[in-house]
């Protein structure tokens, strides 16, 4: 059986170090998460990994694999030709233990942009009218609604690395997604939140967020769409 060398950057709350594991694998058609769980089961039960769905939907197993932020469940060994794999916790996040990071700041930022439909409640409750949506209206935001909030874009962003107050690609893409929804009326509110130094104007288009997004959400492009809308003082996205 071919042996795989897995180097994991570990953290126990006090010190950080690289630990090397040798893993025997039968096939390369398994994911990095499978390898990490195999290590956990057979060699080192103290290794901390966060995961849940194993099919790139929950966004729990984000980590840096061979220098690129990826989902461990989505990254197959077949994609990584090398027999050595390095695994680190997501960059730009506070590490709790080993590969588990604190993603709460991402969600704090996400909540700031009000990621839900803002609409006159009176109209909703008192009217029998259905709020419809045409396919071309759906097309405006559909791609950006794929976000699973895994935080890989936040890990990849070089601006977040030096400016932790920057709202970041995850929250700003959500600001576009909800504002571009034809059923939403919250753009004027969100525009005030994102039209700041900590909002879209801190994005300098490194575009790594879009390059690493496991769902192809393209948050970098969403931020540019918000910038363009702000510059033309659009009443609606």
């Amino acid at each position: 059986m071919p042996a795989l060398t897995v180097k994991v950057k570990r953290f126990d709350g006090r010190k950080s170090w690289w630990q090397e594991y040798k893993v025997d694998i039968k096939s390369r058609k398994i994911s990095v998460l499978d390898v990490l769980l195999k290590i956990k089961e057979e060699q080192d039960p103290t290794l901390a990994v966060r995961y849940s769905c194993r099919m790139a939907i929950c966004g729990s197993c984000g980590m840096v694999i061979n220098g690129v932020p990826r989902l461990a469940c989505q990254t197959l060994l077949a994609e990584i030709k090398d027999d050595t794999i390095t695994v680190e916790p997501m960059w730009n996040h506070r590490v709790i233990k080993d590969l588990v990071v604190d993603t709460e700041p991402n969600f704090e930022k996400l909540r700031k942009v009000k990621p839900y439909t803002i609409r006159d409640l009176k109209e909703i409750y008192e009217s029998d009218r259905e709020i419809g949506q045409k396919p071309e209206e759906l097309e405006k935001y559909y791609n950006f609604a794929y976000c699973i909030e895994c935080g890989l874009c936040m890990a990849a962003c070089p601006v977040v690395a030096t400016n932790p107050r920057f709202l970041g690609p995850m929250a700003l893409a959500a600001a576009y997604r909800w504002s571009a929804d034809s059923r939403d009326q919250g753009w004027p509110v969100r525009a005030k939140i994102v039209d700041t130094d900590e909002g879209v104007w801190s994005c300098h288009l490194a575009y790594t967020c879009s390059a690493v997004c496991p769902r192809g959400v393209d948050p970098g492009f969403a931020i540019q769409l918000v910038k363009a809308a702000l510059m033309r003082r659009a009443k609606k996205l």
Partner: protein
């Protein structure tokens, strides 16, 4: 911004607060070519700032104009000046590219794909042409740089 849980974890048992990544060192990770542009944009901006403000203005005006003039005639002086020109060209071109994208002039649209969607800028033909032009200009500047250093006259921006 601090996490709601971070203070709790810090209080419990004196756990160290470790942030993954390298801070400003994150600029130097090469993942995609736009990130390389981003890094060169920052380095070129810093270089031009220090070259103009510290060397050209402060040193030239307040310390020793004759020393600056004689240093300009040397090879290191010419290299610094030529680098300034190359960085100025890149900074301007890339800044213009970013402006075009921000104004919505260069624009693609993400392509839906069952496996993984294709980002919008990757589908923009104008963006591709602009990138090719930038690479051609960068290569031309790199070829011209040794010529400028060897045979160029004293350059004073």
């Amino acid at each position: 911004m601090s996490s709601r849980r971070s203070s709790y974890i810090n209080v419990e048992g004196g756990v160290e607060n470790m942030r993954a990544g390298r801070g400003a060192g994150e600029w130097f990770r090469l993942i995609n070519y736009e990130r390389l542009y981003f890094t060169i944009q920052r380095i070129s901006g810093l270089y031009m700032f220090f070259y103009l403000i510290f060397y050209r203005v402060l040193f030239d005006a307040f310390v020793s104009p004759s020393l600056v003039s004689s240093f300009d005639m040397t090879v290191p002086g010419k290299v610094l000046a030529a680098l300034f020109l190359v960085f100025l060209a890149f900074h301007g071109l890339n800044g213009f590219r970013i402006m075009l994208i921000e104004f919505g002039i260069i624009r693609g649209w993400p392509l839906r794909n069952p496996i993984r969607n294709v980002p919008g800028l990757r589908r923009s033909r104008i963006h591709l042409i602009y990138n090719v032009l930038m690479i051609i200009i960068a290569v031309a500047a790199l070829v011209y740089l040794p010529y400028l250093v060897t045979y160029g006259a004293v350059f004073r921006p």
